[in-house]
Amino acid sequence: MQKIQPRFNLSQLIALLLLLGGSAIVLVPLLWTISTSLKTPAEVFGSAFWPTKWQWSNYADAVTAIPFFKFLGNTLIILIPVMIGTVFTSAISAYGFARFNFRGKRTLFLVLLATMMLPSQVTLIPTFLLFKQVGLTNSFLPLVLPAFFGQNAFNIFLVRQFMRGIPRELDESAYVDGANRWQIFTRIMMPLSKAPLVAVSIFTFMGVWNDFQGPLIYLNSNEKYTLALGLSMFKGLYNVEWNMLMAATILIMLPALILFFIAQKYFIEGISISSAVKG
């Protein structure tokens, strides 16, 4: 088995070259964005890939030209309650579906799965009108409230699958010891379901950080904009300076990329699971 097989090595080499080529296609646009963000306006029009002198001040200019920290604050005002609400409601609903045999459970669970298939456009307009009717448009509430009602079926499904794998003896012995259902949920099921709940938090972070259509529809005044929305408006409103625009673009990418590198396992598993669920 140790014999060198030249044909095998050749195919390995070709594969490696193809992968390197593919990686270059992925990386060059990113590197070029970084380099543009560090150029002077004159260099942006030039043909050199890298700037002669890295203009870090573009970043300082970008965060003042668009109210970056204001937008970041707005994003966080939405993000934090949405994460808390989503984690809590997916856990509690998952517990209900995983551990109780109430009437109609199967039907309700099928309804839950069916809602995953419903395109969001169908509920978008009436939900907007609902919030408009109660005077909540141009506030963060329409973007936050649904999170407290478990409005992401996939999260509930994910946590419920995990909870079903927790041995029932654990809650039964706690029950014998006098714990009630609520205590079993908060002290046993929640802590034991840390892994899927971390996954849910990560997906939720990415969802809110990336969300564009939601803020676009609900937030009308500049001082309410999120980062994603603010960046796109920056392109339209100001006399565009590409280097600053690219600096702001990099700043918005960065948290998502950092989270991805820290928690890549969850991203990759999450995608595999979602395809297994829906496929």
Partner: protein, 298 residues
């Protein structure tokens, strides 16, 4: 512990979701259905909703922009879905080889799919810029005068497809897990029968990953109909409506022209199209999807 009274406590635990289902899903669905048969100028109150029967749908079927948006969306889906599948399978096959550094490559290919769509869009607006974008600069090295991409009606949609290809990381990961589910002994058996790499791919790998192809096909079609951020940020449907995606048109009708009845009707047509395509793919799947053992029941 198993008496029915305590089992009923389950309702309390799923209550938040159940309320949400009524407030944010079922209620809006009914309201939306009513709206699609109504005319309503949102600025006035609820009282001014006017039932107009099938008027919205009749108007839609005479609406040129509706057909344009369908055309754009279908062209995008028909070109990009197969293109993305082939590219993803190729890269996933390479990434599935057992050798060092694959984890690193996997990270690189997946990276674009975690970048916020707005950031990706801004980046590519710059890349596609006809004068100082890197794409046309690179083409110039080969003596090719690149087009104006996003400003040219015959290239704008193509440009968005190219950009989409850059972000196929998601699909690659799905194929990679599909490939890892192919039993090793099949390849060994193939080896014994003297099958070459191509033969092994078409007779073993491809049939074994058809469930994944099937899933991606459905998701690709649905994705085309939900495409919004990139089209809104980069071209806003232009030039000459050449990138007027269905979802963008729906947004314009609802939130630019405030024609909520018309837009609701559009949203139900969208739902119907997605349903038909999903069912079509599911019904036809028995002809070409190979499930291993009884996996489909899981």
């Amino acid at each position: 512990m198993n008496n029915t009274k305590s089992e009923r406590a389950g309702y309390w635990f799923i209550l938040p979701w159940l309320l949400g289902l009524v407030i944010f899903t079922l209620g809006p669905m009914i309201f939306s259905l009513i709206l699609s048969f109504s005319k309503w100028d949102v600025i006035t109150g609820v009282e001014s909703i006017q039932f107009v029967g099938l008027d919205n749908f009749k108007a839609i079927f005479h609406d040129e922009l509706f057909y344009q948006s369908l055309k754009v969306t279908f062209i995008f889906a028909l070109v990009s879905v197969p293109l993305f599948q082939v590219a993803s399978i190729l890269i996933a096959l390479l990434l599935n080889m057992r050798s060092r550094g694959m984890k690193f490559f996997r990270l690189i290919f997946f990276m674009p799919s975690v970048i916020p769509a707005v950031a990706t869009s801004m980046m590519w607006v710059m890349i596609f810029n006809p004068e100082y974008g890197i794409l046309n600069k690179a083409l110039a090295w080969f003596g090719i005068q690149g087009p104006a991409w996003l400003q040219d009606p015959s290239y704008a949609l193509g440009a968005l497809i190219v950009m989409g290809l850059w972000g196929v990381g998601n699909t690659i990961i799905i194929y990679l897990s599909g490939l890892q589910g192919v039993p090793e002994d099949l390849y060994e058996a193939g080896q014994l029968d003297g099958a070459g790499p191509l033969r092994k791919f078409f007779s073993i790998t491809l049939p074994m990953i058809t469930p994944t192809v099937f899933f991606n096909l459905i998701m690709g079609i649905i994705g085309g109909f939900q495409y919004f951020t990139q089209a809104f940020v980069m071209t806003n449907g232009g030039p000459l409506n050449s990138t007027l995606f269905y979802n963008l048109y729906l947004y314009n009708k609802a939130f630019m022209e405030f024609d909520m009845g018309y837009a609701s009707a559009l949203s139900w047509i969208l739902f119907l199209i997605i349903m038909i395509f999903t069912l079509l793919v599911i019904r036809s799947s028995s002809f070409w999807v190979h499930y291993q053992g009884d996996d489909q029941n899981d």
